[in-house]
C-alpha cells in the first residue's frame, strides 16, 4: 500500500495481470503475427519497391506543402515588406551632414521621395552638383571670407545659376575694399 502511494489497496490475484503484464494484449499479438507473416510472404524485392514508392510519395507531398507555405507567406509579406526606403536614408543623412535639401528658399515639396516629385528631386541633385563645380572653380580666384552669398550658391538649384554668377561678381567688386 505504501509503495504505490495508496493506489493499490490489496496486492491480490486480480491486480497482478494488469500491473505486471509485459506481453501486449492478445488481440494486438494476433495482429502483429499476421503483419509479420504478410511481410515475409511478399519477399525482399517487392518490399524494397514498396518502401521506395512510399518514400517518393512522402517527399512529393512534403515539397508541395512547403511550396504552398512559401508562396502564401511571400504573398502576405510583400505589401508589408517595405519598412524603410534606402533613398530616404541617404537623403536624411545628407540633410543632417551638410544641409542637402534644407535651403530655406527651395520650393516646398520638392524633396519627398516616393512622391511624384521623385524625378524632380533627381534633376535638382544633378543641378546642385553642377553648381558646386562652378563654385569650386571660382573659389581659388577669390581669397577672402565669403558671406552668406556663397553658402546660398552651394546649396542651390538649376534655377539659381544666375544668382551664383551674381555672387561671383559681388565678391570681385569687394576687392578694392579688402585690399
Amino acid at each position: 500500500m505504501r509503495q504505490t502511494e495508496g493506489r493499490v489497496p490489496v496486492f491480490s490475484h486480480e491486480v497482478v495481470p494488469d500491473h505486471l503484464r509485459t506481453k501486449p494484449d492478445p488481440e494486438v499479438e494476433e495482429q502483429e503475427k499476421q503483419l509479420t507473416t504478410d511481410a515475409a510472404r511478399i519477399g525482399a524485392d517487392a518490399a524494397q519497391k514498396q518502401i521506395q514508392s512510399l518514400n517518393k510519395m512522402c517527399s512529393n507531398l512534403l515539397e508541395k506543402i512547403s511550396k504552398e507555405e512559401r508562396e502564401s507567406e511571400s504573398g502576405g509579406l510583400r505589401p508589408n515588406k517595405q519598412t524603410f526606403n534606402p533613398a530616404d536614408t541617404n537623403a536624411l543623412v545628407a540633410a543632417v551632414a551638410f544641409g542637402k535639401g534644407l535651403s530655406n528658399w527651395r520650393p516646398s515639396g520638392s524633396s519627398g521621395p516616393g512622391q511624384p516629385g521623385q524625378p524632380g528631386a533627381g534633376t535638382i541633385l544633378a543641378g546642385s552638383s553642377g553648381l558646386q563645380q562652378v563654385q569650386m572653380a571660382g573659389a581659388p580666384s577669390q581669397q577672402q571670407p565669403m558671406l552668406s552669398g556663397v553658402q546660398m550658391a552651394q546649396a542651390g538649384q538649376p534655377g539659381k545659376m544666375p544668382s551664383g554668377i551674381k555672387t561671383n561678381i559681388k565678391s570681385a567688386s569687394m576687392h578694392p575694399y579688402q585690399r
Partner: protein, 193 residues
Amino acid sequence: MVTTTYHKAGSVLDHSLESLIHRLRGLCDNMEPETFLDHEMVFLLKGQQASPFVLRARRSMDRAGTPWHLRYLGQPEMGDKNRHALVRNCVDIATSENLTDFLMEMGFRMDHEFVAKGHLFRKGIMKIMVYKIFRILVPGNTESTEALSLSYLVELSVVAPAGQDMVSDDMRNFAEQLKPLVHLEKIDPKRLM
C-alpha cells in the same frame, strides 16, 4: 577633451515607426521613453583654406533651461574598411544661450538649420535616436516647418575614447537585432555630396 564618435544610420518609413519603437523599447535599457524636440544650426567659418570649418549648435525647444550644445565633428577616419561604424573625432561643449551671437562675432555664418523631433533610447553606452527632420521655411522661425521626407532617421551612436574597436562590434550586433525593420549601416556623408 577630444573623444571619438562611432556612428551608423538608417531610416524607417512613417508607417513602420510604431513597430520600431516597440522593438527598441524591448531591446534598450528600461527607461521612460524619452522624446526630444531640438533645433540645430550649422555654422561655417570660411577661411583661407578651401574647406570651411564647421560647428554645430543645438538647442532644445521643449526643455527650457537646458544648455546649448556645441559640437565639432572631424573627418571620418579612413581606417579598417571592415569596421562597421563611421568613426570621427568629436568635441562636445555645453554653452550658454548667447552661442549664436558669439559665433557670428567670431565670423561664423549659418549655413543651414533644421528641427529634429523624435525619440531617444539608450543601451549601455549606445545611444539610439529616431527622429524626423523638419525644414525651416522662414529662417529663424521654428514654428513654420515642413517634414523633409516620409521617413524617420535612425541613428546609432557611441561617444567613447579613441581606439575601442569593440564598440563597433557591439554596434553591429545591435544593428542585427533591428533587421529587417531597419537597415543600419555606416554611411559616409561625403559619398552623398
